[in-house]
Symmetry: C2
Subunit: 391 residues, 2 copies
């Protein structure tokens, strides 16, 4: 292992609180020791693949063909020059220049490796007094207000917009501030009113137990917007539970149940005259870093379980445990939406329901739509970058 | 264990080739022995949960509250009557009646348990002579033609429609025979033409290596429709590879590489002025039954890998192996679309690309849109049921 020592240039050390102290080559990688004592490893193949010249100058897309070099590509020389690591490669006579700030940002080993844990903050019933609220006019006219409200929604999975005009298109106009809408078999928008021949329980005046929407879809919709146009009926309070909070508790207390609900998929189905939409899903979905991504819980759409015989009984016990926890009043918030209010929540995290209502005294009418997570997260990133530039 | 013997009624045995021969109760389940010698187990809790009365008569949704009974619910009596299993339960004085044909259909244990393996059929370069083709007029006017063409597309992941009118809306009109379109950041439809300031490589005249679209989305689009409005340029042949076939080979030959590509997620990203859409995904996605659901492969959208340091090198080796296999000419079909032809393929299974073209002699213009898998599969089921009734 060869080691190259470096001293910071006075220029560079003035604007950052770290710099590359030394560089050494090992078999397949370069070892970087930083001025703060931390160590990071960069594999040769990774460095070559991520040479700044590998990306298209306009589109930012990766253009380098990884197979144009061998897996054994390695540096012929490594030089440090004013905060830049310069590598002359063993193939194609290529030279790569890496800024040390870039190397620091994208390091993937040791104590500096990127933290992939979730930034979501879970909540229980006390959240009723802390739900983020903003006014529709702010959301429509101010990017900063939109960004701050969306950041809170991202963190907590539930937020309110008030001051909504009593117009059917208001929900679309507001949601479009984020991005285009996610269409489903219920349309681009949907009206939650009591109907005489309902195609599902939402369109009755019955109570609706806590659930996530469209668990029968390959990917259930992300953020749900529910604009209250009128709510003069008796009852009809909206109920919410943070699925993330409930799952965190289950994971802690009953890891074996949690595992079963992650590992085995159950069938979900919605069918009417025109549709028969089915999908198997695990109730709990983790990302590749072990974070809880999603809960799919909809007792009404749960189809006939077809788990392996040896798992069926244990699964039912785990599933019942989750059902019981979801009914625990300590998790639940309940609020009666008024005309002009809109509730927005992450349908794949926060369960929603409603109390039964009697609409003989007055109508209950919510109008809804969805925006998916990819679009939501993208908008949040772009707004963040734009606002950072303004400052 | 109590056992109940039964003889078939002459009526019932006339229309089915099996009947319940005997029923026995064990601790948590009922054991059914069938006339053909097969044995199935039905857990008490599963039977109670799936009592025919548990489902809403209009909407088909599950209405029974599983927590309204205990996990120890069991039969007080089990009776067989003319092909119906009648259970009197230990709780709520409830009685359930199960048709034996239903019990047979939904059994989940033993040799009769549902087969969850995929019905897809993978292909190599010889498929060029067997691509399913139908005419647009048939697809528009005949449900049977649509059903048969969709069935072939479902099985092979690639099919052609010819006789398309040279109109921009023809692709939408045809795709709408299946269902509504999946919108993306590129719009509801998109035009693949060479542009002066491209936002991605598709909109140049460069060759486009094999890829799946929008791997950076939380769920990439399902079926892709590409209608050729003109292709008078030199070159510009479309290329396709069945990712399923390639992955089957990888799984067989290099199971450890296959596992790495399933287990670890890599980052994908598309960004322009208005968007920054990012997602981590494993390149290979299995369903809970071990079937290959999906390949996400897009070298252009692959962002800077942030795998754990100890995995990075091995992952690169596995990834390069896949890259190499995807380039193997034995897998590839190449066809030059003519005006009036439309190719349709499962974007999450079949990779597509194109050869470079020179459009100084004539324009190359493809117009595209997407329909997602949930909608496609639903339409196929509903058409199948409708056509079965017609017969």
């Amino acid at each position: 292992m060869k080691t190259l020592q470096s001293e910071p240039t006075s220029d560079f050390s003035a604007v950052t609180d770290f710099y590359i102290a030394s560089v050494a080559q090992s078999d397949r990688a370069i070892q970087v020791r930083w001025s703060d004592g931390s160590n990071t490893t960069y594999h040769n193949i990774w460095l070559r693949d991520n040479c700044p010249t590998a990306f298209h100058p306009h589109t930012g897309e990766r253009c380098f063909d990884l197979l144009s070099v061998s897996q054994d590509i390695h540096p012929l020389s490594v030089t440090l020059d004013t905060g830049t690591l310069i590598i002359e490669w063993s193939e194609q006579g290529h030279i790569s220049c890496f800024e040390q700030s870039w190397l620091r940002e994208f390091c993937y080993s040791g104590e500096l490796a990127k933290d992939h844990s979730s930034s979501y903050q879970s909540w229980s019933c006390e959240f009723i007094d802390h739900i983020p609220v903003d006014n529709q006019q702010d959301i429509l006219t101010s990017d900063r207000a939109l960004y701050e409200w969306m950041s809170a929604l991202d963190k907590y999975g539930l937020a309110i917009i008030n001051g909504m005009p009593n117009e059917p298109e208001a929900v679309v106009q507001t949601a479009n501030r984020i991005d285009y809408l996610r269409q489903t078999n219920f349309g681009v928008t949907f009206d939650v009113v009591s109907e005489k021949v309902p195609i599902n329980l939402a369109y009755t005046s019955l109570s609706l137990p806590l659930h996530t929407d469209l668990a029968n879809q390959e990917i259930p919709p992300g953020y749900q917007f529910l604009h209250c146009l009128s709510n003069e009926s008796m009852g009809g309070e909206s109920t919410f539970v943070d699925g993330l909070k409930v799952l965190e508790g289950l994971r802690e207390d009953q890891p074996e149940y949690f595992r079963l609900l992650c590992e085995y998929a159950i069938p979900f189905r919605f069918h009417d005259q025109a549709h028969d939409i089915r999908e198997h899903h695990p109730v709990i979905n983790l990302d590749n870093f072990g974070n809880i991504v999603e809960i799919k819980y909809n007792a009404h759409l749960a189809d006939i379980f077809d788990l392996p015989g040896e798992v069926m009984y244990d699964y039912y016990i785990a599933y019942r445990e989750l059902m019981g926890r979801l009914k625990d009043a300590r998790y639940k918030i309940e609020l009666k939406l008024s005309a002009g209010e809109m509730v927005v929540f992450d349908n794949r995290r926060v369960l929603h329901g409603r109390n039964a209502f009697d609409d003989s005294a007055g109508k209950r009418h919510l109008r809804g739509c969805y925006v998916d997570r990819s679009e939501f997260k993208s908008r949040l990133r772009v707004l963040g970058k734009q606002l950072a530039k303004v400052i």
